[in-house]
Structure formats: C-alpha cells, structure tokens
C-alpha cells in the first residue's frame, strides 16, 4: 500500500531533487547526511604529509514514503534530477511500508498520507 523510497544522492543535487519532487506535488520527505561507499572508489584529498584516499564520501539519504501507485513517478523524478552520469551518482531502494500514522491527528493509513494540493489531489482534478 505504501512504499518507502531511500535515495542516496550527491549533496550538491539535493536542491534539484527537492525541487523536482515538489513540482510534482510530492511534499513529505526527510534528508539525512550520510557517508557512502560504493562503486566509486573514493576521492583523493591532501594532508600535510601528502595525498591520501578518502573512501567514504558525503551523500544525502533522501527518504520518502509514498502510496504504492506513486512509486514509479517518484523514482523517475529522483533518478532524473539526481543523475550526472558519473560514477558516484548513487542508488535508490524501494521497500514496503505497512502503515502510516500522522502524529498530529493520530490518523492512519491513506488518510495520513494525503495533503491538499499533493500529487494525488492534483490527479483527481
């Protein structure tokens, strides 16, 4: 019914991704600063005694829970706005979410997920 989308993106892409999602009416999301390691070997930094490799790079983990029917659109938006074409662009993981509770109201499930003006709301119009 709901899916959790975790995207690991370049920090400098955060603004673009957020913009793309919001334009599409996807509002709820959370950003976490992480250090990532992947296909990209790492990067060379320079210290006092010369260069050294850093193999943990700064990445932003973007977590969005959406209704199942919005997964594809969301993933596509993220993938397109976050890609540069170079190693290190990151990955997106999709996993199941069983229920959603809105803290303010205690509402559960689909009700807790709907925003006025969000992607579903727009579709209906």
């Amino acid at each position: 019914m709901f899916k959790r989308i975790d995207a690991y993106i370049r920090p400098e892409k955060t603004h673009a991704v957020k913009g793309a999602l919001q334009n599409a009416g996807i509002y709820g999301m959370s950003f976490t600063e992480v250090k990532g390691h992947g296909r990209q070997g790492g990067t060379k930094l320079v210290g006092r005694s010369g260069p050294y490799m850093i193999d943990m790079l700064e990445r932003i983990q973007l977590t969005i829970v959406v209704s199942a029917h919005n997964v594809d659109e969301t993933v596509t938006l993220i993938q397109e706005s976050a890609a540069t074409g170079e190693t290190g662009d990151g990955v997106i993981f999709i996993s199941p979410v069983e229920d959603v509770v809105r803290i303010r109201t205690g509402e559960r499930g689909a009700k807790a997920m709907t925003y006025s003006g969000d992607i579903d709301d727009r579709r209906q119009k």
């Binding site: 320079v46 210290g47 005694s49 010369g50």
Partner: protein, 397 residues
C-alpha cells in the same frame, strides 16, 4: 625603569599568553573529534603546571645569578626578594619574570603535538613538570642566564628561543614519538583532522602573538623590537607563500593546512634571528625554512614514525635551520655580512649540544614513565577517544 619598554613587555606577555589557546586550537583542529578536549587540555595544563612551577623555583633555576654557568641558584624561589621596585634592564624584574614565564609555559605545550590522541594524561603531567625543570630551565639558563655558558659564555645568538624553545621542544617531540606507540590507523592513513578552521584560527592568532614572542624579546620598545616584528611578519609570509607553491606543485592544489603550517614554520625559523638580521634575510630564511620542514614532514611520515602533528619537522627542523641561519645572516657577526664563519660554527655546535641534551633527558623520562605508569592509554581507551576515557567529557553535543 622605562615605562615605554615596560608597556611593550607587559603586552608581549599577554601576546605570548594568547599564543597558548592559539597553539591549543592549532593542534586541536588536527585531531579527531573524540580527542579534541584532551588535546586542548594538554596545552592548558602546561600553562597551569609550569605557571606555578615558574614562580616556585623555575625562574630561580633559569635566571638567578647565584648558581653557575649550567644552572641558576635557588635563592629566588617563590620570587623571594623580588619587589615591584626590582629592576631588570629597563623593566621591572617582575615583568621579566612574567614574560619569561610565558615561554616556560608554552614550550612544553609545543611537544604535545607528538603524542596527541593516545597519551596517558597522568604520564603527561609528570612529564611536563620534569621536562620543564630538567630541560627547559637549564637550557634557558645556558643561553639566556646571566652567566649561561652558551649565551654569555660562548656567544651563541638566540634572539627569542630558536634553541631554548623550538629545538628543545622539537627534538624532544621526536624522541617521545619514537618511544610511545603509534596511533591505531596511522598506517592506513585514516586519521583526518576534524576541524581545520580551528587550525587556521590558531595559526592566525599565533602569527600575531609571535610579535610579542619575538618583539618582546628585545625587552624594550625600540628599533630592535621593531626589526624583530618586521622580520617575524615577513618570514611568516614568505614561508606561507613557498609552502603554498610546494603543495601546489606536488599535489596539484595549494593546501590550506599547508599554507598555515608554512606560516608557523616561518615564525619558528625567524625566532632565533628576529632582532639580528635584516628584513631581506627574513624573506630568505622564511622561504628556505618552508622546504626544510615540508620535506621533513614527508620523510618522517614515510619512515612510519607517528610524530602526530609534526613538531619535530615544524619546530625542531625549522628551529635548527633558523639557529644555523642566524650564524649566516646576522648583521653584526654573520657570514654574509663578512664576519667569517665563527658565529656559524658557534651556532652549530651549540644547537647540537642543546638538541642532544633535550633528547637525552626526554629519553630517560619517557623510558621511566613507560615502565611505570605507561606512556599511552590502552587500545580500547584510544578507540573510545581520550575525551571520554581520560576526562569523561564530550566536546560536542
């Protein structure tokens, strides 16, 4: 007693005191966040311990004229007999005591860069107290004491502490680093500075504070003090520029950590020469000191020695270089001003003597501490970080 000279040395005392938090942050920026308080504290405690010792008997050992060429007497313990009216040159003796005290407080702190992130605090505090008494006070007496065998006796030139401060600290750092175990992860190159801005802040304040360190060593507000300040500034600037070029060429980009390291190295190198050489020579000395320390860092690192914050390379080597260069560039007695090789020879053997002495005492102190309390914390304590394991504190939250 001259009020202008007094004013200047009073301020110089404050400026050297500012150098201590500056040094703490210069070092602190380069350690990992779990060791920042520990690292800062090493300097703060040096201020506290040496501050008390200096008044108790350090000053007497270093500067009393009731001893011999090797060590002062104990007649001025607790500053006995010194009143606000006592005079030393054109300034109050109490001021001379205060100014020299700041040197005694900061010199042991310089060494701490060698063993940050693993030093056992209890050992450290014993070490600096003994080092201050057994190394700093005697060498200070030799070079600057009223009847010191190196300064007064052999005519060694050391304007503001090339030998007394930087060579003693820098060479002791090397010995200490060889005797304490390395940090875990040193080999894998994964220890990265946690806050380089702190290091830049420290370097910036050191730069300004050094005007008091070198300029104040004129012990008067006069042309020599002014010369010392011009040279200090110029050598720092020149060394920073050259270091920037070296790192730019080697690594493709100019390193900021390198640039501020260069500035500090320039400050160290000019220290023994500050009031003795012309400004053009300060450019030369700064420019040459940079590669000396730059390559020393890389060599030490390649040799697998974890002299963690490069005290030997930056203070020891630049101090040695500066002391020797003083024999070359000193206007009144140096080689290039046509006064022959005499001064250079004196400088050379004296720094060898001072260096060996500092190393020998440090070796004995470290060995004894290692066999008793232990120099380093346990592996697990190191992993947890010294802030928590040695102080039960967390720097940031």
């Amino acid at each position: 007693m001259n009020s202008g000279d007094t004013a200047w040395v009073l301020v110089s005392t404050a400026l050297v005191t500012i150098m201590m938090p500056a040094l703490a942050f210069f070092y602190g920026g380069m350690v990992r966040r779990k060791n920042i308080l520990s690292t800062l504290n090493l300097t703060i405690i040096s201020m506290a311990v040496m501050g008390v010792i200096w008044v108790m008997f350090g000053y007497s050992l270093a500067f009393s004229d009731q001893g011999n060429g090797f060590i002062g007497g104990l007649d001025k313990m607790f500053l006995r007999g010194v009143t606000p009216d006592s005079v030393s040159g054109s300034i109050p003796e109490l001021l001379f005591i205060a100014f020299q005290g700041t040197f005694a407080m900061i010199t042991p702190a310089l060494i701490t860069g060698a063993f940050v992130e693993r030093i056992r605090f209890k050992s450290y505090i014993i070490f600096i107290a003994l080092w201050g008494i057994l190394v700093y006070a005697p060498v200070c007496h030799w070079v600057w004491g009223p009847d010191g065998w190196l300064g007064h006796g052999a005519g060694v030139l050391d304007f503001a502490g090339g030998a007394v401060v930087h060579i003693t600290a820098g060479l002791s750092a090397l010995v200490f680093a060889l005797l304490i175990r390395r940090r875990q992860g040193f080999e894998e190159d994964i220890i990265t500075p946690h806050n380089i801005p702190y290091t830049v802040l420290g370097a910036g304040l050191l730069w300004a504070g050094w005007f008091g360190f070198n300029g104040g060593s004129a012990l008067a507000a006069d042309g020599i003090a002014a010369l010392a300040v011009v040279n200090t500034n110029t050598a720092a600037a020149a060394a920073a520029v050259v270091w920037m070029i070296l790192s730019w060429m080697d690594d493709g980009k100019p390193s900021v950590l390198g640039i501020v390291t260069g500035a500090v190295v320039g400050l160290v190198a000019i220290t023994p020469a500050a009031g003795f050489v012309a400004p053009w020579a300060a450019i030369v000395m700064g420019a040459l000191a940079a590669p000396v320390s730059y390559y020393a860092i890389r060599t030490i690192h390649k040799m697998g020695i974890d002299e963690s914050l490069d005290v030997f390379a930056c203070h020891g080597m630049a101090g040695l270089f500066g002391a020797l260069a003083t024999g070359i560039f000193a206007t009144d007695s140096g080689l290039v001003s046509g006064h022959g090789i005499g001064q250079f020879v004196t400088q050379t053997w004296s720094v060898v003597v001072v260096g060996l002495y500092a190393m020998a005492i440090t070796f004995v102190l470290c060995k004894v501490l290692d066999m008793t309390i232990g120099l380093a914390v346990t592996d697990k304590e190191e992993q947890i970080g010294l802030d928590v394991s040695e102080h039960r504190e967390r720097a940031y939250s």
